[in-house]
Every structure is written in C-alpha cells, then in structure tokens.
C-alpha cells in the first residue's frame, strides 16, 4: 500500500516536472524569436532613419569633394586610421587566402586602414537583405537594386563622364543625374577560350579571324596534336544554347542594334551573307566542326567538370565560353599560363568585335562615417588600379591604366543596345512562339545542330531554312512587322 502511494507520488511529481519542463522550453522557444525580432527590428529602424537622412546628406558628400578622381593613391589619406568592412561573393577567394594577400598588400601602402572582409554564400539574396537592414559595412558588391534607389544606399564616385576616363563600364550603375555608383571588380567579354600550347604545337601562329581560318586551325590541331580541337560540352546543355547564342548580335554583325532591335523584325535573320558574318556563320562553325570530326569522340558524354583540367593540360584546343570561365580553367591544373582567350573568329568589314560588361561592382555605403567613406574610396581605387585582382581572375580590364594580360588585339568592344521602348517583350515572345529560345535556354536547337552534323540527317542550310520558317511563322502569329 505504502509502496503504491510512493509510486503514485513519484509519478505525479515526475509528471509535474515534465510539464514544467515543457512549459519552460515553450517559454524559452517563445522568448528566443521575440528577442530575435527585437534585434532585427532595431537595425531596421536604424536603417530607415539614415535612409531618410541620406537624401539630405548626399549633396553634402558631393560637396565634400570626395571623388574617385581626386584621390591620389599613396599620397592622400595616409594618416587616416579606421576600420572598414567589405562584403563580397567570392567565398573561394576568401578561403584560399587571395583576399587576405590583397589586403596585406594594401596595408603596405595604407597601414592604418584595417579592412575586414566577409565572403557571403548565396550573395544574390543575402546582399539584398543586408542592404535593407542597413548594417552591412562600408563596401559591398552592388546587388540587384533599382537605379532610382542607388542614391539611398550608395555613394557616387563622380559623374559617369568623369569616371569613364579611369574605368570601363562606368555607366553600369548610374542615376538620372549621371553619377556613377559602381565600379566593376572585373569585366566579362565574349570570345573563345583556347590553349596556347596546343595552338603552338599545331603550328597555328596567327589567331584565326574568320570562320574559315578557325576551322583550318581546328583541322591543324587535329592533324598535328592529340588534343580535341573543339570541346562542345554538348551534354551539359547550358553550354550549348547559353554560350553559342551569346555571340549573336554585335559580334557577328558588327551592328549594336541588331540583337535587341532588328532581330525580331528581320525576315531572314539566318540567311547566308556569303562573307562569313551573321547568325548563319556563327552556327555554321559548330556544324562544320562536327561534320569534319573536329570535336570530341563521344559528344553525348561530355563532362563539364572534367573539361577544366583537360584544357588546362592541353588535351583540348578550344572551347566556346565567356571570359568568366578563364579563372576556372586556369585553376584546374598546373598550366594556368597556357590558357588563352581570343576574340570570336568572325570579321565584319575587316573588323572583329567583342561584347563586354562588368561583373559585380564595388559600391560604398552612403551612410558610413566620413572617415570610412574616404577609406572605402581609397580601398576601391586601390583594388581597381593597383591590386591586380581583375587580372588575377582573368577578367576583362576595368581600370584603363592598370596592366592587364587580357589581350584582345584589334578588337572593337561594343555593347548590344537594349530594346526600343515598347518592344521590350517582343524578343521573349518571339523566342517562345518560334521555340528557338535565343539566349533563353534554347539548348535543344544547338544540340540538334551537333546531332544533324554528326549523323548527316540534315544539311546546315536545311536547319537554317527550318529556323527561318519558324521565325517567320512566329512573326506572323504575333503580328510583328517585318522591316529588314
């Protein structure tokens, strides 16, 4: 009897305790988010307050004469002592110590400016969150914000006209008043990736400038070396449409308005110009290379990760990829110096063209203290002009004065102009209607070129005729006027 009572009591007690425990943990759980909310709410408030101030402060900052142009590196602000924070997306560079090396070099010149860096994974999303929270540091790579919001968040470097003397692509982030808010850390250009040693071994001394010369170079690689002349990366898919379509427009026609303004209104965009230019010549390079056996043996099992060491070690001659790929190919093996980049082998009226644009751009926090603004401006200018980071990444040069190994001899760098007002959606609609999807995931059509060239089921002219038919049918069904 007694035992039973004791048992009952223990049970009751243990239950009470467990209940209490539950209650306790509940409370804890309830408290934690509340605390979080409080913490996050506070910076949000702070963010709003300075943001409101910003409008008034911005002209003041401009008045204080802190501009990119006015800073003399190594002379100005030598006695400035402060700590600035730089957030960026290059987590790989943070981990391999490149960022620390760059900052050590910076501190040789400016020992009193301490730079803290943070590599952010998932930068696209996180950077926007941090930007809206306001408490992010002094320098960041500008995420996708509207041009109208730039003055709220970032400090102008100067006017675009002024900045254009120092850097390329100064108009990437500009407001209505023509101020420049962002400077790229590196640029990306469209050309062809190749292995210099393979070209030398094959006896190709002059870089090919026309489709015919390019095919001849590939043939020479096949005849004289063991390397794969052109690695298609067929199986990955995005390396087909995503890459080949990128050369449409100014590169193949020399006309900056072609891609976004004329293409949808063109009756026969894929007709043979007869002089190795235009969309016809672009895709014909691929068809001819496949037909002549100048690609890998089995295109259906190509491997994107595997191709990097292969081109690095000289097992691949060329790959059709944007310049962003250079750094990856260089890092993939022991022969980074063999990786070269050449303009796309199409010459329009004796001139080769390339399109280029900036990668992420440095932006300076407009709400930072004056000392930090100055330090940040100094740091950005040093990074752009002295650090050599852009070149290290194999990027298209940003600074107009810094030495670069990116050689694009005799090439005119152009940009495809944006669509005419009111016609912004036409390209998308044409892409969907014709099912060709240029620059919009249309990988299947490029893969089909490879298949047709290999199996001989369709000639190149037949493919182009099919495309033209689809294009014209789409123009008809969407009621788009044919002008060219």
């Amino acid at each position: 009897m007694k035992l039973r009572k004791v048992l009952a009591l223990t049970l009751a007690l243990s239950m009470t305790f467990s209940l209490a425990a539950c209650g306790g943990s509940d409370e804890g759980a309830a408290e934690a988010p509340a605390a979080d909310a409080g913490e996050t709410a506070a910076p949000a408030d702070e963010a709003e307050a300075p943001a409101a101030d910003a409008g008034e402060e911005a002209p003041a900052a401009a008045a204080s004469d802190l501009t990119y142009a006015s800073i003399k590196l190594g002379e100005d602000y030598k006695d400035l002592t402060t700590t600035i924070k730089f957030i960026h997306h290059k987590t790989d560079r943070e981990e391999d110590g490149t960022m620390a090396d760059l900052i050590a070099k910076f501190n040789e010149v400016y020992p009193n400016i301490t730079v803290e860096t943070e590599g952010v994974t998932d930068y696209q999303e996180d950077s926007l969150l941090r930007l809206s929270s306001g408490d992010w540091g002094d320098i960041m790579f500008i995420p996708a914000v509207d041009a109208a919001d730039l003055p709220t968040y970032f400090l102008p470097y100067g006017t675009v006209d002024e900045m254009s003397e120092y850097v390329n692509f100064a108009d990437q982030w500009k407001d209505a008043a023509g101020n420049c808010y962002g400077i790229g850390y590196m640029g990306n250009a469209q050309g062809i990736l190749y292995n210099k040693k393979v070209f030398a071994d094959a006896g190709v001394t002059e870089l090919p400038k026309t489709p015919d010369e390019f095919i001849a170079a590939l043939q020479a690689i096949k005849d004289n070396t063991d390397a794969i002349p052109l690695y298609t990366n067929y199986a990955a898919g995005w390396t087909m449409g995503g890459q080949w379509d990128a050369y449409l427009g100014a590169i193949t026609t020399g006309d900056e308005t072609w891609l976004n303004q004329k293409f949808v209104h063109t009756a026969e965009p894929f007709k043979d110009n007869g002089d190795g230019t235009g969309a016809y010549a672009l895709y014909k390079i691929l068809y001819d290379a496949v037909e002549k056996g100048l690609i890998e043996e089995d295109y259906t099992t190509t491997d994107w990760e595997g191709c990097k060491p292969m081109i690095n070690n000289g097992e691949i001659g060329t790959m059709v990829l944007g310049s962003w790929a250079i750094a990856q190919m260089k890092a993939a093996g022991d022969h980074p110096d063999d990786i070269g980049y050449m303009p796309f082998p199409i010459t329009v009226n004796g001139q080769q063209y390339a399109t280029a644009g900036p990668d992420y751009c440095y932006g300076i926090n407009v709400n930072a203290s004056d000392d930090n603004k100055a330090a940040a401006m100094v740091f950005v200018k040093w990074m752009v002009e002295e650090s050599g980071w852009c070149d290290l990444e194999g990027g298209y040069p940003i600074s107009k004065t810094a030495p670069t190994s990116f050689v694009f001899d005799g090439v005119t760098v152009v940009n495809n102009l944006t669509s005419l007002p009111g016609e912004e959606d036409l390209m998308n609609e044409m892409n969907a209607e014709s099912e060709l999807s240029f620059n919009a995931g249309g990988d299947a059509k490029i893969q089909a070129i490879v298949e047709a060239a290999f199996t001989g089921t369709q000639t190149y002219d037949e493919i182009m005729a099919d495309w033209t038919t689809a294009w014209n049918a789409a123009q008809d069904s969407l009621g788009i006027e044919v002008k060219y």
Binding site: A235, D298, A444, E451
Partner: protein, 333 residues
C-alpha cells in the same frame, strides 16, 4: 405560427436523426471523409481541372491568354515532336516486359530455399532505393566511352573498336536508357512478387510434388494463378510508367539526340518554350492514352486469367488445344 411549429419540429427531427444510430454513422463518415476529400479535391482535381482549362488557351505562365479552342489538341497530334515522342515509349514497354519477366523469374527462384537468398534480395532491391537523379549520373559515366561498361565488356573479350557508343548511336541509345530503368525497377517488382508468392499455401507444393509436378509445373499451375492480381498490377504500373518515362532521358541525355520521351518534350514545351496551353493539352492527351491502355490491359487479363481458378480440367484442356491451334496457325503463316 404553423410554420414556426413546423421548423421547430424539423429541428427536433434533425436532432433526433443526429442522435440515432444511423445519423451517427453518417455524421462520423462525413466528418472523417471531409478532410481527405477536401485535400484530394484542392490538390488533385482542382489543379487538374485548371490544367484542362489551360489546354484551350494560348498562354504563358504570366501575361494575357487567348482562347484557341481545340487548336492545341490539333497540334499535339500534328507536331511530329509531340505525338511522335510516344514511339519511344515502345522501347520502355519492351523494357518493362523484360523487367517483369526477370523479376518473376528471380522471385520464383528466391521464394524457394536458396542459400543467401536475403542477401540477393537486398542487392537486387537496392537500386530502387537510390534517387533517380543519382542513378542518372551513375549511368552517364557508366556509358561514357572507355569507362565502366566498356571496361567490363573488354574483360569479357570484346574489342573497344567493335563496341558501339552507347549514348551517341541513335539506334541503341534508347535501349541503353531503358536498361537503366530496368536495373532500377526490377528489384522492386521482384519484392512485390516474392511477397505475393509467400502467401501461397506451401501444402500445395507438397501435394503437387506428390503428384509428380516439377518446378516449372508448380510455377505454372500454382504460383502464377495465385499471384495474378499482383502480376496484373505490376504490368499496368509498368506500362503506364513507360508511357510517362522521364528521369533517365532527362538526366542522362537531357532528351537530346533522339531520346526525348513524351514527358521530356512536354517539360521542354512548358518550361523552355513557355507554351503552357500546348503542354497542358499534351498532358490531357497522355492521360487519355493511359486510361485507354489501362482499360485494354484489364480486358486482356480478364481474358488470360479467365480459367485460372477453374477446376474443370476439360476447360483448360480445351484452352490448351485452342492455344496450340493458334500457335500452329501463327507458325504456319
């Protein structure tokens, strides 16, 4: 006044009914059913109805839509990449027959006493547990020139030069892909078959053995008739599965090089080309085809297993004779 009295009476009547045994039954049934039915409706039938609606429009995911009537259905049948893609399903159907035969054979063997039977079962079931995407990547390398498959074949004395390119050659690449799906699913079919075979009364085997029946006769007259339900189910699942084959071609070849099955084409049309109306029409057409295929199979199995449990030996003998005659006719032709 009278009306009021009437409603009061009605109320009373309802309460009374609700308290009655029958009322309780109905209330409980409704209460239990309403949640699953609501979920089923919201997440299956409602979206499906919407999709059927979409199939009559020319539309993208965003933006305006225009009513086009049966035009999308017409293009499903007229475009050679849509309806033509169903031809590839024949490869997968062929594969599923191989798969079921293999599964049935192994299940029968493993359901008798075999040394290490459980280990074999485990090994053969294992592929089913791997994620389909992972299997895709495994087989991409498996079929790469000079990699796993070619190496193994070379050990068996084949010359690399005589071997085909498993994924490049359009004559065999679909067979290669079907191979991966057979590898993945036969283990699962086998386990289902073993489960069904287990339920067969073992005394039947003893009796059959006393009557002098060998293993094959046991399979034929005891096992097969006893597991006909599960065989039917597996066949129906495999055939509908092969009509909607997606993962192997999508992951291994991304539907390129003549391996784009109906589903892959549908995915491309819906997501890359953003022709949502056409893709919806394709989905509806596929559903109708699957209905038709299922009904035909039901009828077929009704015919095949018609006499399965018939004790009348005369009938089965007659059927044998009929089949023999049919076979003879076929051979003679």
């Amino acid at each position: 006044m009278a009306a009021q009295a009437n409603t009061v009476e009605n109320k009373k009547g309802f309460l009374q009914w609700a308290r009655s045994r029958k009322g309780q039954q109905v209330i409980i049934i409704v209460a239990f059913m309403i949640i699953p039915l609501a979920l089923l409706f919201t997440f299956t039938y409602l979206p499906f109805g919407e999709m059927v609606g979409y199939s009559f429009y020319k539309m993208k995911y965003v933006g305006k839509r225009t009513f086009v009537g049966w035009k999308n259905y017409a293009s499903v049948f007229s475009r050679k990449d849509c309806f033509g893609a169903l031809k590839l399903s024949l490869y997968y159907m062929g594969g599923s027959i191989v798969q079921l035969a293999l599964a049935l054979y192994l299940a029968t063997i493993l359901s008798f006493k075999v040394k290490g039977g459980n280990i074999f079962k485990g090994f053969m079931f294992f592929p089913y547990l791997i994620n389909g995407i992972a299997i895709g990547f495994i087989f991409k390398f498996f079929y790469t020139r000079g990699f796993v498959f070619d190496t193994v074949l070379q050990w068996c004395g084949f010359q690399l030069d005589n071997l085909p390119y498993w994924l490049r050659d359009q004559r065999i690449n679909n067979i290669s892909l079907v191979g991966t799906s057979v590898w993945r699913y036969f283990g699962q079919n086998m386990v289902l078959f073993i489960g069904a075979i287990m339920s067969v009364d073992s005394e039947l085997y003893e009796a059959a053995m006393l009557d002098g029946a060998n293993r094959f006769a046991q399979f034929r007259y005891i096992i097969l008739p006893s597991i006909k339900t599960i065989v039917t189910l597996n066949v129906i699942l495999s055939i509908t599965g092969s009509l909607s084959a997606f993962e192997p071609p999508y992951v291994i070849t991304s539907g390129a090089n003549g391996t784009g099955t109906y589903f892959v084409v549908m995915n491309e049309i819906a997501h890359t080309q953003q022709k949502v109306g056409l893709a919806s029409a394709m989905a509806v057409v596929l559903l109708l085809i699957i209905f038709a295929a299922t009904i035909l199979q039901k009828l077929f199995f009704k015919y095949v297993f018609r006499n399965a449990e018939d004790e009348d030996f005369g009938a089965s003998a007659r059927r044998e004779k009929k089949l023999a005659r049919y076979a003879a006719r076929k051979a003679g032709r």
